[in-house]
Symmetry: C2
Amino acid sequence: MLQRSLQGSTRAIRRAAQPSAVFAGSRFDARFQSSDSGLAVLNLGICGAGTVGGGVCEIIAKQQSFFRKNLGVDLVVKKVCVRDMSKPRDFLAPNGSPMEYTTNIDDVLNDPDIDCVVELIGGTDKAKDIVFESIKKGKHVVTANKALVAEHLDEIVGLLDTNPKVNFGLEAAVCGGIPIISLMQSSILPDAIQQVTGIMNGTTNFMLSKMEGEGADYAVVLKEAQDLGFAEADPSADVDGYDVRAKVSILAKLAFGTTVELDNVPMTGITRVSSNDFAYAKQMNCTVKLLGVARMVDNRLSVFVSPMMVPLDNAVGTTSGATNIVEIRSESLQSSSFVGQGAGRFPTANSVMSDILAVAQGRGLNAPFQRQTKRYIDNNYTARFYIRLQCKDGLGVIREVGELCEKHGVSIHAINQTPITDFNDIPVGLVTEEAQFNQVDQLCDSLQKCGFCLERPLAMPFLDA
Amino acid sequence: MLQRSLQGSTRAIRRAAQPSAVFAGSRFDARFQSSDSGLAVLNLGICGAGTVGGGVCEIIAKQQSFFRKNLGVDLVVKKVCVRDMSKPRDFLAPNGSPMEYTTNIDDVLNDPDIDCVVELIGGTDKAKDIVFESIKKGKHVVTANKALVAEHLDEIVGLLDTNPKVNFGLEAAVCGGIPIISLMQSSILPDAIQQVTGIMNGTTNFMLSKMEGEGADYAVVLKEAQDLGFAEADPSADVDGYDVRAKVSILAKLAFGTTVELDNVPMTGITRVSSNDFAYAKQMNCTVKLLGVARMVDNRLSVFVSPMMVPLDNAVGTTSGATNIVEIRSESLQSSSFVGQGAGRFPTANSVMSDILAVAQGRGLNAPFQRQTKRYIDNNYTARFYIRLQCKDGLGVIREVGELCEKHGVSIHAINQTPITDFNDIPVGLVTEEAQFNQVDQLCDSLQKCGFCLERPLAMPFLDA
């Protein structure tokens, strides 16, 4: 494999020092201009040659003549940094790419010919060094790393400010194949966004769709998702909501210009969602979806992650399986929805590629977070809530539930206890009027302490139509 | 109104001759650099101050401080060209914009200070002069004019080739508030597109949704749409499919790089869709939607406009009312759907604004149609078809229908004649196996000539899942 890759390097790739010319297709930065071919050459250093990295190389190989002929750009994979040189790779070097393998990241960072570093290793340790060092060295960066971006948003903004020639592409970091980042950066840029809502995690949506369709319980679908390779052995990042929290925080920054503290974002995962919840949801013509929400209400920004009750006549409610959707409500566009594959080799690689082409064609952004506004952050968001209790049978249960709701100022909109089948394990569904997250949280605390309550009640907000 | 607009001109707007600087936010063209404010000033000449033009001015006025502070651009509406100076306008001049009204287009074209002409008058006569002259004079162009672009695609491409500094924005020309043009130009650019399908006309989708929901007939919903101002007094552009044909032709050019002859695009409108079709559709768990389709099958490009039988479990099938949807099937992204408002003041104005900002921020494209490939065009597309006949009762009708299908090589997949309620007007629904458009067209010719046939049968292809 390596041998075949290296054959490509015989093709001479020279970079010109002469000033940029306006090129049929787009403007180009002088540094990419190739003197002999007339093409704008962009030398890439790819860090991580796994699922997505391999997909990127495959797309470059396949679309190369289109990129050269129609877009006037020549993408050259100069180096690929991997953890294990001996691991067999399932992709070839694009024609004309040296694609030298290395395990030493400095081989990429210190190569003055590499214009753009593509960070696809994930995590927040080594990846942080790669991204930060690349920016400091004036190399463009394309990354798929939501955790890194979400955790270091303000540092990245600061670094880019001091390195204003560096383009920073993060399309692949949020919702795989849905181009929600560039939509926020261009098409929706003139608009005033009010709310961003989305199914941003394919693994959990696959699981919830299974629970909805088959009436199966959480543990069963988790096992199935793990067997199919959809869920990790340690599924926490997906099922506890960390993945969605990182994504929605990035979208909140793009939409509202404000960085939220990840630790302060209210986050509920799907581990306690049960078939009872889907049964109650169905009665309300709803389903349960794990959503990331960022919205402005009364000039306050609320960002949260929670399983939510979603009406089935809403596009979010009918988005099933591993598919993702992001719905944006904004002043001019009203409601816009963007639906696509949220993960997978080629959908994610396409997003990486769209960033790479933007850099190569001179359309890349050096200030990816163009909105910069300090918003008042309100983690104590308001919604109508569904609350499901698991109770033992006993006299006075509904009276006590009613008393506690009254005590916490939570008004009951509807209550439903289906006829008892197991006196020791009775689901009771409540729907509240508009209430604050903290009120409902404290109500759940109080309910949990009641003798009849088998476990902490699960509360989920409704997604309003 | 005019007086108030002119007050804005007291603010001095100067343009610098010095070279461009790289600016926090983006790269800027030297010509827009303002020496005193540090902002990149873009002087606009807006042609047409109706629904969309007014919306553009309103958005500039409202978002001005965001554009200046966060994006570093200052959008100045220098002149507005209108047909009738005396007509009252429902919008004010943005702060800092002279917004001089004129009825003479030369006042805009010959103003050397105007950097970007925004063409919003529609039609293909005067608008053509405006767009073509602006390009020739080196002014950037933003247009919402699908008819003009679709009819003069190759001329526009040629003009832009010879004026490589001119940006050309056409986001608002297709599907109002859905950013399908820029998605094609950036996010989906690395991918190999296989099919573009969409509900691209809000008026007819409103009408068909009414027919579906209320069982109403065509004439009734047309009257209603006209009364509500959704449909024109002469509704032909919408109901006969011309509007969709222009849009899908533009999308075909973006997706496949090939210009199709508008006259050769098979086009069927909705004027003959009846409540019988919706009744048969319902039996098949489908509905009827007017779609534009562009797709590659066996290396041949087919573009057509037709009411189609769309499964209700497809996102296209559940997109109702004035909402538009475009679904793209492509190699890497598989299926992506983009849903939003297809028309209206602010959705369309937002698309115009996103183009204007792209020009102002130096992200605009001078080659909007980046794919350039000669594809074999196959207007005789293949599909499964639904055919509805209106018959008089008589002996041998089904036998004769069967004979004609056999003669034309059209295999019958299903046939359905609901029990007769009116012996003089009986709907018969046929579903064919895969057949060619021309075969089905000729079959309909032959059927029409039969004595039992009350009118030409209506054929519609199925949208495959």
